[in-house]
C-alpha cells in the first residue's frame, strides 16, 4: 500500500449512476464512483456480485442499461480508447495453441506496440524462460500471467484487471502487486478485482460490492476501523451482514450500508 501526496489528481474513470440489467437481475445497480489517474483501487466482493459486469462496462464490452462511464474523458469503449485501456478477463484470453511469444507478438502488432514490448512484458510477469512454450501446456497461473502480459503490451493508461492473482502462489502474488504499484506510481490507473479479501491491504482504495450495489468506497484502514475488525475478511463479512457499517466511525467515503 502506498500513500502518496494528496494533491488532487485528474480523473481517469468516472462512473455515473451506472445500471446494467442482465436478464432478470440488476448485475450493476446505480453505481457511481471516480478513479483518479495513477491510483491503485481494489474492487472486492463475493463471486457474482457484479464485479466482472462493472469491469466490462469500463472497457466498453458491456451493453449499459442506464447511466454512463467516462474513461480518459471519452465514453467507455470509444475508438480512441482502444490502445489506452488494457483489460484482463478472469479466464485467460490467449491462444492456447500458440507459444507465449507468438501470442504476445500477435497482440503487439494489433496494438501497434513496438517489438521490444514483448520482452519487456515477459520480464514484468516473470515468464522470460517460458517464452517458447505452448500456452496450453502451461500451468493455470502461468496462463493467467500470459494474459496479463498481453494487457501490458501497449503501456495502457488505464488497466482493468479481473482477478489477476487468483490461483497464484504467494511469492508471485507479491511480485505482481509490486508491479501494480510500480505501474500506478508511473501514472497508470488500475482497477483490480478480487474475491480474496486479504488482497485489500495491497490497495490504496477499496470499492466493496454486493448484489450489484456499491457497499462502501473506503480505504483499507478505514474498512478495519469502521467495522472494528482486525482482518479484512472479518471486516468484509461484518459489512455484508450490516453490522454497523454506517455507525459513527464510518469512513467519510462510505456511500451506503444495509
Amino acid at each position: 500500500m502506498t500513500d502518496r501526496a494528496s494533491t488532487p489528481l485528474p480523473t481517469a474513470v468516472q462512473v455515473d449512476h451506472l445500471t446494467v440489467v442482465r436478464g432478470e437481475t440488476r448485475a450493476v445497480d446505480d453505481v457511481s464512483f471516480e478513479l483518479h489517474a495513477g491510483s491503485l483501487v481494489g474492487l472486492l466482493g463475493p463471486s457474482g456480485c457484479g464485479k466482472t459486469t462493472l469491469m466490462r462496462s469500463l472497457v466498453g464490452t458491456q451493453v449499459l442499461s442506464a447511466g454512463s462511464v467516462t474513461v480518459l474523458g471519452q465514453p467507455a469503449g470509444s475508438r480512441s480508447l482502444r490502445d489506452q485501456v488494457g483489460y484482463v478477463t478472469q479466464v485467460p484470453s490467449v491462444y492456447g495453441d500458440l507459444t507465449v511469444r507468438e501470442n504476445l507478438s500477435y497482440f503487439a502488432t494489433v496494438l501497434g506496440a513496438p517489438v521490444e514490448a514483448v520482452d519487456r512484458v515477459l520480464g514484468d510477469v516473470d515468464l522470460g524462460g517460458q517464452d517458447r512454450s505452448i500456452v496450453a501446456r502451461l500451468s493455470g497461473g502461468e496462463r493467467a500471467r500470459v494474459s496479463l502480459a498481453t494487457a501490458l503490451l501497449g503501456s495502457p493508461r488505464v488497466l482493468v484487471l479481473d482477478e489477476p492473482t487468483v490461483g497464484l502462489d504467494p511469492l508471485l502474488r507479491r511480485s505482481l502487486w509490486s508491479l501494480f504499484n510500480r505501474l500506478a506510481q508511473a501514472g497508470t490507473t488500475l482497477l483490480v478485482s478480487s474475491h480474496v479479501m486479504d488482497e485489500a491491504e495491497r490497495c490504496e482504495r477499496l470499492l466493496l460490492m454486493r448484489e450489484g450495489r456499491l457497499l462502501a468506497d473506503t480505504t483499507p484502514s478505514g474498512l478495519l476501523s469502521s467495522t472494528g475488525e482486525d482482518d479484512f475478511e472479518s471486516a468484509f463479512v461484518a459489512l455484508i451482514e450490516g453490522r454497523d457499517p454506517t455507525g459513527p466511525d464510518a469512513p467519510a467515503g462510505c456511500q451506503e450500508g444495509e
Binding site: R22, V59, G60, T61, Q62, V63, G77, R79, R82, D83, V85, Y87, T89, V91, P92, S93, V94, Y95, G96, D97, L98, E102, Y106, F107, T109, V110, L111, G112, I134, T150, G154
Partner: protein
C-alpha cells in the same frame, strides 16, 4: 481497417494451423481420399467420374472449410480472445479478412493437391481448362470459410456449431443439381435453388466438364459465387459485436 492487422491475423491463424499438423493432414487427406473413393466407385462406368468428379471437387472443400471456420470462430468467442481483440484497435474487417486470407491460402494448397490427384492418378478429364477447375475449387473453399464466419455468430455452443453443417450445407447439396438436375426439380424447389450459392458452384464445374472453351454461363456462375462470397464476408463482419448484453 489496416493491412498490418489483417496480415498479422492471417499469419497468426496459419501459425495455429502449423502447430496442429494433424488438422493440416486431415484438411488435405480427407478430400483426397474421398475423391479417390469416388473414382473407385465409378470405375468402369463410362465418364461418370468425369461428370461427378469436378462437381464434388468443389463441394468437399466447401464443407471442410465451413466446419473448420465455424469451430475456429467459436473457439475465439469461447476463449475470450475475440472479445479481447475487439477491445483493441482492431476492426471487425481485419478479423474476418484475416481468417479468409489464411484459410484461402490453405484452400489453394488443398485444391492443388486434390486436383493434381484427380487429373493424374484418378484419371479425371474435363473438356474445359483443368486450371479453372482448381480456381472454382478454391473459390468454393473460400465460400465455405465465409459462410462459416457469418453463421458462427448464431452458435453459442460447439454442439450447435457442428449442426450448422447439416442445417446450412446439406440442403444446398440436395438442391444443387447433383442428385436431380435442377431443371427437373419441383417448381418451388427449382426457384429456391436459384438462391443457393452451391447451385452456381456446381454449375460452374459442369460448364467446365461439358464445354472446351469458357462459356458466358461459366463466367456468370463465377461472378455469382464471388458475389455470395463478398456478401457472406460482409455478413460475418456485421455479426461481430463489440458490446454484448
Amino acid at each position: 481497417m489496416t493491412g498490418g492487422r489483417t496480415r498479422a491475423t492471417a499469419a497468426r491463424v496459419l501459425l495455429q494451423l502449423r502447430h496442429d499438423p494433424r488438422t493440416v493432414a486431415l484438411l488435405i487427406a480427407v478430400p483426397a481420399v474421398l475423391m479417390g473413393l469416388l473414382a473407385w466407385i465409378l470405375h468402369g462406368r463410362d465418364h461418370d467420374f468425369d461428370t461427378f468428379g469436378p462437381q464434388l471437387l468443389g463441394i468437399f472443400p466447401l464443407i471442410v472449410m465451413f466446419l473448420i471456420t465455424s469451430v475456429a470462430t467459436l473457439r475465439e468467442r469461447a476463449s475470450g480472445t475475440l472479445e479481447r481483440l475487439l477491445t483493441m484497435p482492431m476492426s471487425k474487417a481485419d478479423f474476418v479478412l484475416g481468417y479468409a486470407i489464411a484459410f484461402g491460402l490453405a484452400a489453394i494448397v488443398q485444391a492443388l493437391v486434390v486436383s493434381g490427384l484427380c487429373f493424374g492418378p484418378y484419371g479425371m478429364t474435363v473438356r474445359g481448362s483443368a486450371w479453372l477447375v482448381v480456381v472454382v475449387a478454391v473459390l468454393d473453399a473460400l465460400l465455405g470459410t465465409a459462410l462459416g464466419l457469418s453463421v458462427s455468430a448464431l452458435a453459442t455452443t460447439e454442439f450447435q456449431a457442428v449442426q450448422f453443417m447439416p442445417a446450412f450445407i446439406l440442403p444446398q447439396l440436395l438442391l444443387c443439381g447433383i442428385i436431380v438436375p435442377r431443371a427437373e426439380l419441383p417448381q418451388v424447389l427449382h426457384w429456391v435453388s436459384y438462391l443457393l450459392p452451391m447451385s452456381y458452384a456446381v454449375d460452374a464445374t459442369q460448364q467446365l466438364s461439358t464445354y472446351p472453351s469458357v462459356t458466358t454461363q461459366f463466367l456468370v456462375d463465377l461472378a455469382v459465387v464471388g458475389g455470395f462470397l463478398a456478401l457472406a464476408l460482409a455478413l460475418g463482419t456485421l455479426t461481430l459485436r463489440r458490446r454484448t448484453p
